[in-house]
């Protein structure tokens, strides 16, 4: 039976809702599932899939960041400072993507999925910020801050370090985000947490705000190039948003470890499929 456009829209909303639900339960955006589903199941051109995914990334980022900004968990000054690099990286990635062979995009996507699965396996619980002294840039821009991320909401002071190195790493994260249509939170968070000394909870919240800014830069270029098909982007944005909203509500009532293991298996399977497509 041929798939009608209506059925396609309904299936996309449903698949995207599952992706958004799973993604929000494990702290990853829906993009890592949406792009493989569009390319492997519906045989959509990977560049159209990336364009649609970027819209989804912006929608989920904006929704999450809206809540986190009002809870005072986003480090807005740091986000804007690092967004200079991520948006420039996103523009570079969007401009370069046209010249990158499709096979390379599939292999790169598989590599990022594999990395995300390993990072999830090795995820450590929230720890106190590592001791260290802030650098001159952080001091000049007032990036050292306090946030209610200690035990029982206790306010913890932290100093931001290696600001310039952080900028360089974020530029790379922006390029990857634009090439693959993913939020690249898996790259942003460790950069802020491990490299720059930002507490994990603040790094996650700050990343969720930056992801939207980054994706907006590349999505604008994809839009002007005709690589955002409204019939693909719209149902996915609605589905992922609905799934992510439901996921945020279910967060406390599901077994996080089981969901996380399930997601790691999904990531591994999808990574192998994308790799096969890349080398086919």
């Amino acid at each position: 039976m041929p798939i009608t456009p209506l059925l396609f829209i309904l299936v996309l909303v449903l698949v995207a809702a599952v992706a958004g639900l799973l993604g929000s339960l494990v702290g990853l955006g829906g993009g890592v599932i949406v792009v493989p589903v569009l390319t492997l199941v519906f045989h959509v051109d990977i560049r159209l899939a990336v364009g649609a995914s970027l819209v989804t990334v912006i929608a989920t980022s904006a929704t999450g960041a809206s809540r986190l900004l009002r809870r005072d968990l986003v480090h807005l000054r740091l986000a804007l400072f690092l967004a200079v690099a991520t948006t420039l990286g996103a523009i570079t990635g969007a401009l370069v993507s046209r010249h990158v062979p499709t096979r390379v995009l599939f292999v790169l996507f598989a590599a990022v999925l594999g990395y995300s699965a390993v990072a999830m396996l090795r995820r450590r619980p929230e720890a106190a910020p590592r001791a260290g002294h802030s650098d001159a840039v952080a001091n000049a821009l007032g990036l050292n801050a306090s946030a209610p991320v200690g035990e029982g909401g206790q306010v913890v002071h932290f100093e931001v370090r290696r600001s310039i190195l952080g900028l360089v790493a974020m530029y790379g994260a922006g390029v990857v985000s634009a090439l693959l249509g993913i939020g690249s939170g898996a790259l942003n968070v460790p950069t802020m947490d491990v490299l720059m000394g930002v507490p994990l909870k603040v790094a996650s919240a700050t990343s969720s705000f930056m992801i939207g800014l980054t994706a907006a830069a590349s999505a604008a270029i994809y839009l002007s190039r005709g690589q955002i098909d409204p019939l693909i982007a719209a149902p996915i944005a609605i589905g992922v948003l609905g799934g992510a909203t439901l996921g945020a509500r279910l967060l406390t009532s599901v077994n996080a470890v089981v969901v996380q293991r399930l997601f790691i298996v999904v990531l591994a399977v999808v990574a192998i499929e994308m790799l096969q497509k890349g080398f086919a």
Partner: protein, 135 residues
């Protein structure tokens, strides 16, 4: 989030700016999704072939699919009352939300005379506008 070394921006100013940016993002996405839903309903009502299968799927999502391209294409589609144009308008509203958020953040920091971070926010806005208009 309060900056310990910020001289000009008080914690209250920063909190207020973050709060307004958060509200802008939330409203932007909600509005975008609403417009998308209206556009999709219009599309299905105007094109019965979408539900019966008379319009093949590959004509809409394939390599040679025809849909409004860029801001110019969006304006043209809306002038012609195209439902696909309405859907794309919703997508563009979502896409614009973080850009408006960055503009609000820049305004908030500059109004609080926190010039360094205000200028950095303006640079981010400029980069986003260049990506939207010039590339």
């Amino acid at each position: 989030m309060s900056g310990a070394t910020s001289r000009a921006t008080t914690a209250r100013d920063a909190h207020r700016t973050a709060h307004v940016v958060g509200r802008v993002l939330g409203v932007g996405v909600s509005l975008g999704v609403l417009v998308i839903v209206v556009g999709l309903v219009l599309m299905l009502l105007r094109h019965p072939g979408y539900t019966t299968g008379q319009v093949p799927l590959h004509a809409l999502i394939g390599r040679h699919a025809r849909f409004p391209v860029g801001i110019e294409g969006l304006v043209r589609a809306l002038r012609h009352g195209s439902a696909a144009g309405v859907v794309l308008l919703g997508v563009v509203v979502i896409l614009a939300s973080p850009i408006v958020g960055a503009i609000v953040a820049a305004g908030g920091f500059l109004a609080a005379r926190d010039l360094r971070i205000g200028v950095i926010a303006l640079v981010v806005v400029l980069i986003l506008l260049v990506a939207t208009v010039a590339l």
